[in-house]
């Protein structure tokens, strides 16, 4: 009997016990699964160039895509505003999925409601669901704002949010002047980054539309969809304060997804105040940290006469330099010595460790701007990005990546794969191996199948805890990313060492 009260074995070891091995073997015998030799043959073939060719010839099937759908981005974006409840109009299961998904990454509650449309609403439209739903949400959860987005069901049947919300207002679901911004977020267009853009635009449009701009020196900052937002937004605000730049973060989730445990559940915490979102129309400029999360929003802000600019995830030396230079340019404030010292410290650390990173090859995947920022930093360390993949990246992103590769001798082997998925990445890793893989938790299957060590540096991270609480942006963030890469390399070096067998390089100092 494998189990005992003194030493309780759970799934991590129980099924390795002889009783379970025998049981599983008996089960195997009657499962009618392919023979082991056939499995081995196919497994090997899936790692061949022939397979890669067939894999890349796919036109319709998508396997293990590294992207989610629009409303997830909309819910994330809305969460960054003061006491704002996301209301997703359509089928209810979707909302359960967004909440679970964000909670699993942040290890935090995520509140959002659904209009719970069912078959009859598919036939007659979901207006009544929205009218009743807004009234219930307003009464139960005391929000200051309800941000409405849509599931694909509501989009396919063509529900009109603007008129439905107006009707709900007329019927008294919410007070006449209550803020109910909205965004249509069809899941069959774009990805979660598109949904983020649509919701931010929906919210500022709600506050800005028809208003005259009285320009001031403030800068609006759009962080973009970012699993590291808790750490990153706080670091960003710190840098802005050090620089003395007057700013408004448009959607700041850093407190919402990092509430304390002190006995009180805060359904809402922090976020951009509605007053600030309103006043943001007067800003001198709007600066996005992630271009591909804010294409429409920036266009909209431009229409008000604001200067606009976009970065590609300000990570590493050049990424942060660009951020500070751009902020200085837009605000007229000098970059203070304190930040220059931080820059020097990051450079110092990179110099100390360069021999361990120079020439390392990488595969990087994730949202378009993350991959860009990450590849850029990798090149700064002397590393070579080889496979850069973004399922939700398009042609524009691919060109930006190609320009980036061309900017450095370390980019000469770089190739950008727009619209490809992680099953494509598997073929790339199997046929053209690299030293390190940078991605999210889903990368663990690639790590297992292809033996390439995975560094988890982007959303979602389900199987490691709390990484998102520390920034990867700015010079400080660069240090953290640097350490993550180095630790992975050193740990792998040591992990292979067995005393007396192959521990010659088991060095104490490196």
């Amino acid at each position: 009997m494998p189990q005992s009260a003194g030493k309780i074995l759970d799934h991590t070891s129980l099924f390795r016990e002889p009783e379970y091995r025998e049981m599983l073997a008996r089960k195997r015998a009657c499962e009618q699964m392919p023979a082991a030799v056939r499995v081995k043959e196919i497994a090997d073939w899936t790692k061949s160039l022939d397979y890669r060719e067939k894999n890349f010839a796919r036109e319709s099937l998508v396997v293990n895509p590294a992207k989610a759908c629009q409303p997830l981005g909309a819910v994330f974006a809305a969460a960054g505003f003061e006491r704002t409840m996301s209301f997703v109009h359509g089928s209810q299961g979707c909302v359960a999925y967004y909440r679970s998904h964000l909670s699993r990454h942040f290890k935090e509650p995520c509140s959002a409601v659904s209009s719970s449309m069912t078959e009859d609403a598919a036939v007659f439209g979901g207006m009544q669901n929205l009218v009743d739903g807004l009234a219930n949400t307003h009464a139960l959860y005391s929000p200051k704002m309800i941000a409405v987005s849509t599931t694909c069901m509501a989009e396919v049947i063509g529900d009109d949010l603007q008129s439905f919300i107006a009707t709900a207002r007329d019927k008294g679901s919410v007070p006449k002047d209550f803020d109910v911004p909205f965004a249509h977020t069809p899941a069959f267009v774009g990805s979660h980054t598109t949904g983020y853009d649509n919701m931010i635009k929906g919210i500022i449009e709600h506050f800005w539309k028809g208003r005259e701009r009285a320009p001031n020196g403030t800068i609006n900052i759009i962080p973009g969809f970012d699993g590291f937002a808790v750490g990153n937004n706080r670091e960003l605000k710190r840098m802005l304060d050090v620089m003395g730049v007057s700013h408004t973060i448009l959607s700041d989730v850093s407190d919402q997804f990092d509430t304390p445990s002190d006995g009180e559940f805060r359904m809402y915490d922090g976020g951009t105040t509605l007053e600030a979102a309103k006043a943001a129309v007067n800003a001198g400029a709007t600066l996005s940290m992630q271009e591909h999360c804010s294409l429409k929003t920036l266009e909209y802000a431009k229409g008000f006469g604001q200067e606009t600019a976009a970065l590609h995830y300000p990570l590493g030396v050049g990424g942060t330099d660009d951020l500070l230079v751009k902020l200085s340019e837009l605000s007229g404030r000098d970059i203070p010595a304190a930040l220059e010292v931080e820059r020097g410290r990051l450079i110092d650390a990179m110099a100390d460790s360069q021999s361990w990173l120079h020439g390392k090859t990488y595969a990087i995947y994730g949202d378009p701007d993350f991959v860009h920022g990450m590849a850029r930093f990798v090149m700064e360390t002397g590393g070579e990005p080889v496979h850069c993949l973004s399922t939700n990246g398009g042609k524009a992103w691919q060109e930006q990546m190609e320009t980036l590769f061309a900017s450095s001798p370390f980019g000469q082997h770089g190739k950008a794969w727009a619209g490809k998925d992680l099953w494509h990445m598997r073929s790339l890793l199997a046929t053209e191996p690299v030293d390190l893989l940078i991605g999210n938790s889903y990368g663990k299957y690639l790590e297992r199948d292809c033996g390439v060590p995975l560094v988890r540096l982007t959303f979602p991270i389900f199987d490691r805890h709390h990484h998102h609480r520390f920034p990867v942006w700015g010079y400080q963030g660069g240090l953290r990313v640097l350490v993550a890469l180095l630790d992975k390399i050193f740990d792998r070096l040591d992990a292979g060492s067995e005393a007396g067998v192959n521990d010659i390089s088991f060095d104490l100092t490196r």
Partner: protein, 488 residues
């Protein structure tokens, strides 16, 4: 737990009143039917009742924790069948959020002969909505054939748009099954169908009936002691910890539905002598079908906690005669010292602690006696998507006065937890962190909080350990800063 225990019905009723007061009138009328307390037995040997309404549409805007039919079909019933490719047919999100999240353990080589931890989708774009997705689906199936030759079959898990744009996935399935000679199953589990995951289970069961069981017969010969485990999804290895016991009492398990299942196990199921159903809610439909069509009787059992395990083993064995019954007694006797030792270790640490489960369609009643084995009491319980027959089955397990909540909303749960201050809440990821922030220990009771198995004697030890860890962790004592005075 002794049924002589009482919960304070009057307090619970008052609490329900307070909670309902927050709702607008229309919603209040609807919600009040879903909240109640367990009423006394009728005095004629009947069991206590919990007569709340259930399996009704959720109220819009209240933060139901329910999912959808797709979640019930792909996420629960079909997804664990390991040697088939399950296509999330429609936009990318549904398959993404449900990718590898249910911990249906399996053996096999992912991407080669098993596909449980992968996400296959037709990734609908706008043009697919406008022009229809059938042609794309055909190409998707062809490409699966090229790249995953060892897949034994395909299921098509419909997402919302598929049913709205008039696609004919049944025709595509028939055509492709004929072309490839493999099983291709269309499942109409669009998320807007029904009121929760529950209809998805039913639709998934019907698809098994219509597209697997009634299609030919590739089954092997059946033996007199052959049984199927039905409705065990092998969360954290549950089905394995159950199977080992059934084998020990002398039975042969020919099908594991659907945790760690192969298509062959599904196909041969009607040859069994008996269907043993754990999750009644999600798979009773197919058991009833196999009873009517194939003459396979079925029975419910419960492998949570030693009391129920022993009772279940005896009841199962009784269907097979004295020899198996004698084996069952030996097995129970053999495991009793383990159960006793686990209880001796953990019961003193958990005695009298009050628990509030809020789970899907089975566990709100099935785990009650396992908690009872550890001396823990149930303060309230309820189902996300249970039906009337689930609530009927619940009354026998919980004491009079117990708070009952059906399709509880975020607001209700928060208030109930705040006022009842249970020692432990057992629910899902969406409920976990808000509960813990209130200083109330929590275990995820869908995924076993990344632990498990919890079924069987081996699983009970883990269950006991985990509940103790949750309740008695020192972190709960640190919430108040030492310079803060306790609230008056």
């Amino acid at each position: 737990m002794s049924l002589d225990d009482r919960n304070d019905a009057e307090f619970h009723q008052r609490l329900i009143g307070e909670v309902l007061a927050a709702y607008p009138e229309k919603a209040r009328k609807r919600r009040q039917k879903h909240l109640g307390t367990v009423t006394p037995a009728d005095g004629c040997g009947g069991t206590p009742g919990c007569a709340v309404k259930s399996n009704i549409k959720s109220v819009p805007g209240v933060m139901t924790v329910r999912g959808c039919a797709y979640a019930g079909s792909k996420g629960v019933v079909w997804g664990p069948i390991k040697d088939m490719v399950h296509i999330s047919h429609g936009p990318v999100g549904c398959g993404h959020y449900s990718w590898s999240q249910r911990r249906n353990y399996f053996t096999g080589t992912a991407g080669v002969d098993a596909f449980v931890t992968m996400q296959f989708t037709s990734d609908f774009q706008e043009k697919d909505i406008v022009f229809g997705g059938d042609k794309k689906l055909e190409r998707v199936i062809d490409e699966i054939g090229t790249l995953f030759p060892l897949a034994n079959g395909i299921s098509i898990q419909s997402e919302c748009p598929v049913g709205l744009i008039g696609d004919d996935i049944e025709a595509v399935s028939k055509k492709k099954a004929k072309e490839t000679g493999k099983t291709v199953v269309p499942v109409r589990c669009e998320g807007f169908r029904g009121v929760s995951q529950s209809l998805g289970h039913h639709i998934a069961n019907d698809a098994i009936r219509d597209w697997v069981l009634d299609k030919g017969d590739r089954a092997s010969d059946a033996g007199p002691l052959d049984v199927n485990i039905i409705g065990d999804y092998n969360i954290g290895g549950d089905a394995w910890a159950s199977r080992i016991l059934l084998e020990e009492i002398g039975l042969r398990v020919i099908g594991n539905w659907s945790g760690d299942a192969t298509l062959a196990e599904v196909e041969r199921a009607p040859k069994a002598r008996l269907n043993l159903i754990h999750c009644y809610r999600s798979m009773n439909y197919i058991c009833r079908h196999m009873e009517e069509k194939h003459g396979v009787p079925w029975m419910e059992y419960n492998f949570f906690g030693p009391s129920q395990i022993a009772a279940s083993l005896r009841a199962i064995a009784a269907k097979f005669g004295p020899e198996v019954e004698a084996s069952a007694e030996r097995v129970i006797l053999n495991y009793q010292p383990l159960a006793d030792a686990v209880i001796a270790r953990y019961r003193p640490r958990l005695e009298g602690k009050r628990v509030m489960p809020y789970v899907g369609g089975l566990r709100p009643r099935h785990v009650v006696d396992a908690y009872g084995d550890l001396g823990m009491l149930i303060a309230g319980t309820g189902y996300e998507f249970g039906h009337n027959d689930d609530y009927q089955r619940t009354g026998a397990h919980v004491p009079e006065g117990t708070l009952i909540y059906d399709d509880a909303t975020g607001y209700e749960l928060e208030k109930f937890i705040e006022r009842l201050r249970p020692d432990l809440v057992g629910s899902g990821i969406k409920e976990k962190y808000s509960t813990q922030k209130m200083g109330v220990p929590f275990r995820q009771m869908h995924s076993w909080d990344y632990s498990g198995p919890y079924h069987g004697y081996d699983g009970f030890a883990i269950f006991a350990r985990d509940m103790d860890m949750a309740v008695n962790n020192p972190v709960w004592g640190m919430f108040r800063a030492p310079w803060k005075k306790p609230a008056a």
